[in-house]
């Protein structure tokens, strides 16, 4: 099996005492600790302001799985941001430099992860670790 680890460290001085949260997980298939996620898709796009697109499509093979999604807004202008949605439901805004890491069970085949760019052309890096996805038929 493939072993993929995702670690996060959150640090801040906004409290009266320093805050530090660190954790790591090994990305496993749904409901097991013996078989790691063994497939991935990765990409980088530039998305013009006002454009809303599916970034990652939910497909039949991905429904109900322990998929993990990483998205980073690699823009550098602090006013640039992308709105993240799942099946049209607004999740949040990723501003320039922000990233997110989310479990995504692709609840149904409509549960695509969508992005809408604001302010300018945003640069978006992304990766999806999964158990499989249904490929498009040949045209």
């Amino acid at each position: 099996m493939a072993t993929t680890t995702a670690a996060v460290t959150l640090t801040s001085d906004l409290l009266s005492d320093n805050m530090s949260v660190t954790t790591s997980t090994t990305c496993m298939k749904a409901g097991t600790n013996a078989d790691g996620l063994d497939q991935m898709d990765m990409g980088y796009i530039e998305l013009a302001s006002g454009t809303q697109k599916n970034l990652i499509d939910a497909t039949a093979l991905g429904v109900g799985k322990a998929n993990k999604v990483y998205i980073c807004n690699e823009s550098t202008d602090e006013t640039y941001y992308i709105a993240i949605m799942i099946d049209g439901m607004a999740i949040g805004h990723l501003y320039a430099g922000d990233w997110m890491f989310l479990p995504w069970d692709a609840n149904d085949e409509a549960a695509d992860i969508e992005v809408l760019a604001h302010t300018g052309t945003n640069k978006i890096g992304f990766a999806c670790f999964h158990e499989g996805r249904t490929l498009l038929a040949v045209d």
């Binding site: 072993t3 322990a66 941001y81 439901m89 999740i91 805004h93």
Partner: protein, 238 residues
């Protein structure tokens, strides 16, 4: 200015033929600026359990109405379980995001788009006497005197479990606003929903009542089993 950073590293030596190493550091700022975020809730830890599988309930993690809408808020959640099959289902409004299996964590931006809150106005009139009462939401106001403005001011000083109040500083009217957004299935409040004890009698008419609309982005998590599971969470917000 506070500096809050979030660092992620994703590594794998055997997923691809070449080693995968991905790393990103974000300095968390308020929306559209280079100013650091200034507020945080947590770190919190909670154990969920229920009497049986049929009694499992979703837990509201964060209510959108409590935070800045469309801010650069960030939410961290971890499932501390060590039993592989145990997971929390994370939902925003009615949209299921995903399942946090044992040991999994997530870090995501959050819009905190709230709905609108129910409101009404209560206006004190006619003849009240000191010591008479008006009761609403389980809270009883005892008139400090017969002066209507003082009665309204007294209503405003009390703490209601489900409502906040606004008083203009003069006059006999107090505006009640629900603490949380709710949908239009709620009743429209009327004068009879409060209890008046007044001999003369004084009146306290409720008017301008309007229902709200449901919040669109409360975050809820639902455990997969009724036995004890524990999650940790942190909100960094504007």
């Amino acid at each position: 200015m506070a500096t809050t950073t979030a660092t992620i590293t994703i590594n794998s030596t055997d997923l691809l033929t070449d080693e995968l190493s991905l790393s990103s550091i974000a300095t968390l700022t308020t929306a559209g600026t280079s100013t650091g975020v200034t507020q945080a809730s947590g770190l919190a830890r909670k154990t969920t359990s229920a009497a049986s599988a049929a009694a499992i309930q979703a837990n509201v993690l964060y209510r959108a109405g409590d935070y800045t809408a469309n801010g650069a808020n960030k939410v961290y959640v971890k499932n501390t379980s060590t039993t592989a099959a145990e997971f929390y289902t994370v939902t925003i409004d009615q949209e299921e995001l995903g399942r946090l299996y044992a040991g999994d964590w997530m870090f995501m931006p959050w819009n905190a788009t709230s709905g609108t809150k129910q409101v009404f106005t209560v206006t004190f009139a006619s003849t009240w006497a000191a010591g008479e009462t008006w009761t609403f939401d389980g809270i009883t106001m005892t008139c400090p005197s017969a002066t209507l403005a003082l009665i309204a001011a007294e209503v405003h000083t009390l703490n209601y479990p489900n409502w906040t109040t606004t008083y203009g500083g003069s006059g006999a009217a107090v505006v009640f606003t629900a603490r949380y957004a709710s949908d239009a299935t709620e009743i429209v409040y009327a004068t009879g929903d409060a209890t008046i004890v007044s001999a003369n009698p004084g009146t306290a008419a409720i008017s301008a009542a309007a229902v709200g609309s449901a919040s669109e982005s409360d975050i809820t998590i639902r455990p997969s089993v009724h036995t004890a599971m524990t999650y940790e969470t942190l909100l960094i917000n504007e």
